[in-house]
Symmetry: C2
Subunit: 332 residues, 2 copies
Amino acid sequence: MANTIYDLAKAAGVSIATVSRALNDHYAVSEETKQRIRALAEKMDYQPNARARSFARQKSGIVLFITDLFRNVAFVNPHMFEIMTGISQYLDEKNYSLLLKHATPKDAPQTIKELMIREQADGVIIHAAVLSKALAGTLHHLDVPHLVIGKPDFSTPICWMDVNHEQAGQKAAAYLLDKGYRRMAFLMGNRETDKISAARREGMLHLFAEEELSFTTLYGDGTYESGPRLCEEALSMKERPEVLLCTNNYLAMGCLQVIRQRGLSIPRDIAIMTFDNYPFSMLARPQLTAVEADMYDMGQEAARFILRKIRMPELQTQSFCTIPRVIEREST
Amino acid sequence: MANTIYDLAKAAGVSIATVSRALNDHYAVSEETKQRIRALAEKMDYQPNARARSFARQKSGIVLFITDLFRNVAFVNPHMFEIMTGISQYLDEKNYSLLLKHATPKDAPQTIKELMIREQADGVIIHAAVLSKALAGTLHHLDVPHLVIGKPDFSTPICWMDVNHEQAGQKAAAYLLDKGYRRMAFLMGNRETDKISAARREGMLHLFAEEELSFTTLYGDGTYESGPRLCEEALSMKERPEVLLCTNNYLAMGCLQVIRQRGLSIPRDIAIMTFDNYPFSMLARPQLTAVEADMYDMGQEAARFILRKIRMPELQTQSFCTIPRVIEREST
DNA sequence: TTGAAAGCGCTAACAT
DNA sequence: ATGTTAGCGCTTTCAA
């Protein structure tokens, strides 16, 4: 059994109250006593029991991160773990801990409700992978410090943050127009369900409209397999695009394959650009120009927000976005 | 403030002891009373306060996962997060939680010591990324339920688990020999530091020796950039290998590039095989035959072990390995 | 500046 | 089968 505050108090010849104050840097303890007690604590390898402390303080110093953790998720969605890494890093700095919990979209409301009523954690960050209207309702009712990562596609008063996808689209368009490209094709996923790409497209439309230009959008399913097909489609247009803008790396790789087969040179004959820096854009040959959002940074922002919300529950901010940037490489 | 056990006891007209027993399924409570109290708990949205409970029980129901969480780690090492996912999944089943904590190899011993003396968690799983002799010493002294993921490269009594890399090498060799390949080149990283590849090589040597065969090993630095160079080297050998076995996907991609340039056909002119299924082997064209270790499964095993160790600290098992498998694809 | 003592909400030993 | 009560190890109020 580890030393308790009583052991330390006895050894120091003071009361446990004084020990507690000394370790928590309370003003009403003489500097000399503080020093003495701290030195002794160090010597005795004393650390305050976390369970007793959180019980007494009525707070756990823990932030919950809830998401859908299925097999292969780390390969399918490393971005999520990069966000988590950012969160962990910031919490660490502030002496908070990160508790990771799995949920499915179906059971997430119940899971969160249980954990938060139990007061396992002081606040909760939820990945949009498990977001639903039911969950938004639960969050709203529980009135617990929370933040959803990913913009809800329905109207709700809950707090969320996301990458500004529209701005990402604008940045991509601005970059390409600036480079002198005029004929562009945008390759994305499903017309109805690929909301993220749709937001990017909005941003691009906006910028192209300013120049009184337009571009073609080709819809697929966002997979590697649909890449070659969409690429063929783009190459066989009467006015061949000067640049293909892909909504993800897999599409871009698919395009690369077709372009290579046709013996076309990149970027001379046709340029290519992609959203996301991961997982191939720097490894493809030629290396791909990409629009990247900093997930690590986003995680840190999320953590910063939730800690503020924990400290000041009346905080009014509801939502905010982070801004992506263009990484120029060889393909444009 | 949420309902406490006192509220529930009052509402049910029983003592808090009975409520506690009913909720913890104690034998000495009539089935009827249990039902009644549980129904009431449900109705009142009562959940026992996690902090009070862990304080009273003297255990937190938390397992710590400690690793080095640097920027881009999710892209560089998704395997680690896949392990984490497996851990989380298993802990969930057993009503345990996973606390994620960052450490560097330098501060890990101190971090772990602090957290475990504080009794934040009931046990700790440590990724080999932060393992050191100092850390092994700390673990040994603390005498706390622990498991290191990754085989220590020094002698120590601490508990660890790892993929059986030697067996992975054997499996790869067995597969290739079985396919009829006889001349093989193994492309790996640094001769001194790439321990994992060295273990694989041992396994391969073993199997080749049985057939009175041998193979060539080419050393590089394990990066994508070294791939083409090693590949050229292999192709220009007086007796050209029939198959290139790469220790990771990056090397394999580098090889693919050179082979394609030379207009060689895979697997007719030369076959290619790689360790790891990630990140490209299924996306490369042709798709690459690979030796894969199931990280998710390994995570589950790790969690199972740590929970057993928590329940039975005297458990003697020190180490164990998981077995990789070959995924056959088009490149061999 | 320090100490005594009352919680914090639960579990579990002991009593009935 | 149920109730009473003593902890669990800290923080914090109140008193000195």
